[in-house]
Symmetry: C2
Amino acid sequence: MGSNERRERAKEETRRRILDAARELFASEGADAVTMRRIAERIEYTPTAIYVHFKDKLALLRELMTSDLQVFAAHFASVAAVEDPIERMCTMGHAYVDFALTHPNHYRLLFITTLPIPKTELTPAAGTGSPEEDAYTMLELVVGAALASGRLRPEHTDLPLLCQTVWSCMHGVASLAISMRCHAEFEWRPVSDITAMTLQCMVRGLVRDGDPYLSTLGAHP
Amino acid sequence: MGSNERRERAKEETRRRILDAARELFASEGADAVTMRRIAERIEYTPTAIYVHFKDKLALLRELMTSDLQVFAAHFASVAAVEDPIERMCTMGHAYVDFALTHPNHYRLLFITTLPIPKTELTPAAGTGSPEEDAYTMLELVVGAALASGRLRPEHTDLPLLCQTVWSCMHGVASLAISMRCHAEFEWRPVSDITAMTLQCMVRGLVRDGDPYLSTLGAHP
DNA sequence: CCGCTTAGTTAACGCCGTTAACCGAATTAA
DNA sequence: TTAATTCGGTTAACGGCGTTAACTAAGCGG
């Protein structure tokens, strides 16, 4: 009988509806609004019904995270098109901060909130590895290309160190902007300015003197 | 009668004990452990007793924050002693990350968790302004000295932009290190290396070519 | 038709922050 | 000295949270 398959599809459907409800709640009202009871209320189920599909709230959030990581990764689709490897790196930086500010709740969940994530439970069935690794892999690809171009200073050879440094700085711009949005007592410069400034400094610190990309940054009289 | 004063002192004492208990709980077990009930349990009071001294949990945390900000600011005491203004900036950066990693819970509360803080309620009686502004003022002082030294590239003139860029990068190193501590799937470089790398790049992006401080970074063959 | 699996419900537990009503000791005033 | 008042602290309770155990009922295979 194919009816068993239909049952399975229905279960999958319910599971998806739970995730969608959680995502909507999360995106519109923030992390505090994501409650087992409110999720259940949205899909007109009992809170305990969720436990049929997910071990607990953490498992639910973890799965939400992995699917959001794919959205995150997709945000960098256009980056690969940039020809110049140095410029590509900067474009990626801007895209990173842009994602964080347009989806602050998602960014929080992905990179600010520390969920105790037992990675071993993440299904490695996806083949290439976890999406988080994939996003990091994209970074490694872009920074690696800059490194391979031979335009970086000779003392820069440690690719992981380079990636983590760049990531840290971009994360700093993004997360500080998100965290400190309300604090009006500082005269905050536009985030795009801080992003540009950061990338400009980083690039100058990374590439050799006289690199062609530097001349596009600011014409020094 | 002085007995009234004694009563007031006793109240102040209880208030202090509440804050201390909250701080200990927070430092040793993290934010989740800071519960009105657990705080009360520590000082052998009823949870509701806390409400005699603090409007609600948020007010308590806010006050905890301001006192911790003073500890934070004190962490930079030695920075002022560094002669060279560029080196001073780097020393401050290292001290910043060092504070974040040795007091991760405090750092979280201060700069990662976004508490809805109505600053208007913060007593401006301290005179100089809020401690948070003071820490920021210290940053402005240090970066301002670098700017005033005339050793920065001529295109860098916007002090707030400079401060916020430097702060963002250091916050990025610190907070990413805190958030991602558990994720062992990346081969993380030591945080001190990332800090040094970040500062090195920032400095090279900020100061003019041929600045004496650059030669102390890495001798290029 | 019968027994089994299973999506979903009911009821409850122990936590949480917070409030209203109350208590009792110390201070003040008569 | 005694009555009134202040106020630090307690008791009991409310509504909300994540989660569990026990149960219901529908659909499947034999």
